[in-house]
Amino acid sequence: MPQFFPKSANMLALLTLAIVALGAGGGLSALLITSRSPYNTQQGMPIGQPVPFSHKHHTTGLGIDCRHCHYSVEVSGFAAIPPTKTCMTCHSQIWNEAPMLEPVRESFRTDESIDWVRVHDLPDYVYFNHSIHVNKGVGCATCHGQVNEMPLMWKANTLQMQWCMDCHWNPEVNLRPRDQITNMDWQPPADAEARQALATQLAEEYDVQSKVSCSVCHR
């Protein structure tokens, strides 16, 4: 009986096997890499806002403390998006005719909130509380990065669960004294031994424990 397939079919069969193996491996790797990339997490990507509010200008330039606007960060789960009134305490006097700030004035006139775009948006099944972190010595910059260097806001970290867990497994090294919470430039002691001593001392003083059970965040 003559062969039904030409001789080249042998090569085709091997090639198919190779393509399937490489395709499966490559496809899975691509998924794992993409899911961690800024394409998925938006890490490091500035987000446009209805008013181009600059954190850099207001903090580094003008020296306003984080808590002037995010006033409930120490006492509530929610750090607070300031109401338009907070903007208007200054902007009714300065830059009060700047076209760029028209949405702020309009919001004040109509009593309609400005539609700020949320940059740090956790999934609804995650319970996150700002006050407990701040009161236990986790600084703003630890999670939000150098906000004082950001004209438009972006995510400095992925906010993926493994990033949360990295700290929750071993929180001590990410602590700072409470009076340095909003200090964007605070650095732990350069000396490794002193750093560890401070970490241990703060954890002891603030009673910081590693909290990793599911229901800490998924309630």
């Binding site: 039904f4 794992l32 899911s35 961690r36 669960m161 493994q162």
Partner: protein, 454 residues
């Protein structure tokens, strides 16, 4: 392959006047359409497609609305999904037993039924796999069950039997598929050589992987097949053992029993052989395969059903005994509640189906009465489904705290998905009957020397 037949066996494993040519002709012609499919095939396939449509409809409704459309609630959080899962997985076990263990024991009667019993295994596992996926509610996240480097820094809970289940069932599906396909290769080459149409020749040719039947091919084939049989053998026991751990590892009365693994494995083989009978009896009748699936096969399968059925019945009796002997009020209540509680009719139907009915198989007259045997096999299938229903529902619906007792009633969506899964099985099986050699041609040829010359 041993070909000596015990003188005690009066029934032959192959009909009279069969030659190498007639075996190939008969089986290959079914796939090539030279023997027109019986009307039964069209009816079966269309019924299967209609029911499978119900499955699609039910699954869509489930995904749109969530698992709340089922009758599940606390305390019965596991309803039809796990009942059907265990039922289907159990059915698959006969295929593996026939193909692997009977091969190692050199039982030559396996050769005529192993191909479609293995196909039954694959299709049953595919139906079983549906239910955990549907039950997780968000099946597009079902890959979370797999340990992979995820962005959550968490691994599956390796101490949970539900995770063991994922590995047991996926291993089972993979090995069964490999075993079935490896056994098919020589026959696919026969089909490639016999097919006349270009499309059929190409498709059979691709799947035949260039098989030419040289001595070297056969040597490698035999080694590979024996190795796969060795791999499959522990799976016959391990898969349903792990499935039984889903229950036995918990602390619910009626589940927390050391008896569960052997009792589940026996039940699996029992239901599987009943299903092989349910399938083999119409297939041999409608396709005229009485010369290949002889009364010897039917008889042997009925005997295995009886033997495993006795083990299962022993399990039921031991459950009652443990309930009494434990002197534990919850265990005792569980047994009493099964026998006289709101689900008592299900329990007594179960005893009728799995405890009493198989006793008829002691009689040779019954084993040789095809219509009667067919009815018994159906009753056994129903019985094994009822067994899982009784285990799951009666244990959960009245547990330790009477304040949390409640009833479980399946909804329309439970039923449509269950019946739809039977439809999926039928569609796969009827397509298999038409396009794949349903009996291992080259293996049956080993038996040709036993064929009586008239």
């Amino acid at each position: 392959m041993a070909t000596n037949v015990s003188p005690l066996q009066s029934e032959p494993v192959i009909g009279p006047n069969q030659t190498y040519g007639s075996v190939t002709d008969k089986i290959a012609n079914i796939c090539l359409g030279k023997q027109a499919p019986p009307v039964f095939w069209y009816i079966g396939l269309l019924t299967g497609l209609a029911l499978m449509g119900g499955l699609g409809h039910g699954a869509l409704w489930l995904f749109l609305n969530g698992v709340g459309v089922w009758g599940l609630n606390i305390p019965v959080g596991w309803g039809f999904a796990i009942i059907n899962f265990v039922w289907w997985i159990g059915i698959g076990h006969a295929g593996t037993l026939i193909s692997a263990i009977l091969l190692l024991f050199r039982q030559d009667w396996r050769t005529s039924i192993n191909r479609f019993a293995e196909a039954m295994t694959l299709f049953a596992v595919s139906c079983a796999g549906l239910f955990p996926l549907l039950h997780v509610g968000r099946p597009w996240l079902a890959f979370w069950l797999m340990p992979y480097p995820n962005t959550m820094n968490v691994w599956p809970q390796f101490r949970s039997p539900l995770v063991w289940d994922v590995f047991a069932v996926s291993t089972y599906a993979t090995v069964s598929a490999l075993f079935w396909y490896t056994g098919l290769i020589p026959d696919l080459a026969t089909m490639r050589d016999r097919a006349t149409g270009k499309v059929a020749k190409t498709i059979y040719g691709i799947f035949a992987l260039g098989w030419r039947g040289s001595a070297r091919h056969w040597e490698r084939y035999e080694i590979a097949y024996l190795m796969l049989a060795g791999l499959s053998t522990p799976l016959v026991v391990s898969v349903h053992t792990v499935v039984s751990f889903d229950f036995a590892v918990s602390v619910i009365p009626g589940w927390h029993a050391t008896l569960f693994p052997p009792y589940f494995v026996a039940g699996a083989i029992y239901s599987g052989f009943a299903m092989v009978l349910t399938l083999a009896i119409p297939v041999r009748y409608f396709w005229g395969l009485e010369d290949f699936i002889t009364m010897r096969h039917i008889d042997a399968m009925a005997k295995v059903t009886l033997a495993t059925g006795l083990v299962v019945f022993y399990g039921y009796m031991m459950e009652v005994f443990f309930g009494w002997y434990s002197q534990n009020e919850y265990e005792q209540f569980m047994i009493l509640n099964r026998m006289s509680g709101p689900y008592a009719p299900m329990y007594w139907m179960l005893i009728f189906c799995n405890g009493l009915t198989p006793q008829l198989l002691w009689f040779k007259k019954v084993r040789f009465n095809i219509p009667f045997l067919f009815v018994i096999s159906l009753i056994v299938n129903v019985g094994m489904w009822l067994e899982r229903f009784v285990i799951v529902v009666t244990s959960l619906h009245r547990d330790f705290l009477p304040s949390s007792w409640d009833m479980y009633y399946p909804t329309f969506w439970d039923w449509i998905i269950y019946i739809g899964s039977i439809g999926q099985f039928l569609v796969f099986f009827f397509l298999f009957l038409r396009f794949v050699p349903m009996i291992a041609i080259f293996e049956v040829k080993h038996l040709v020397p036993l064929s009586k010359k008239a």
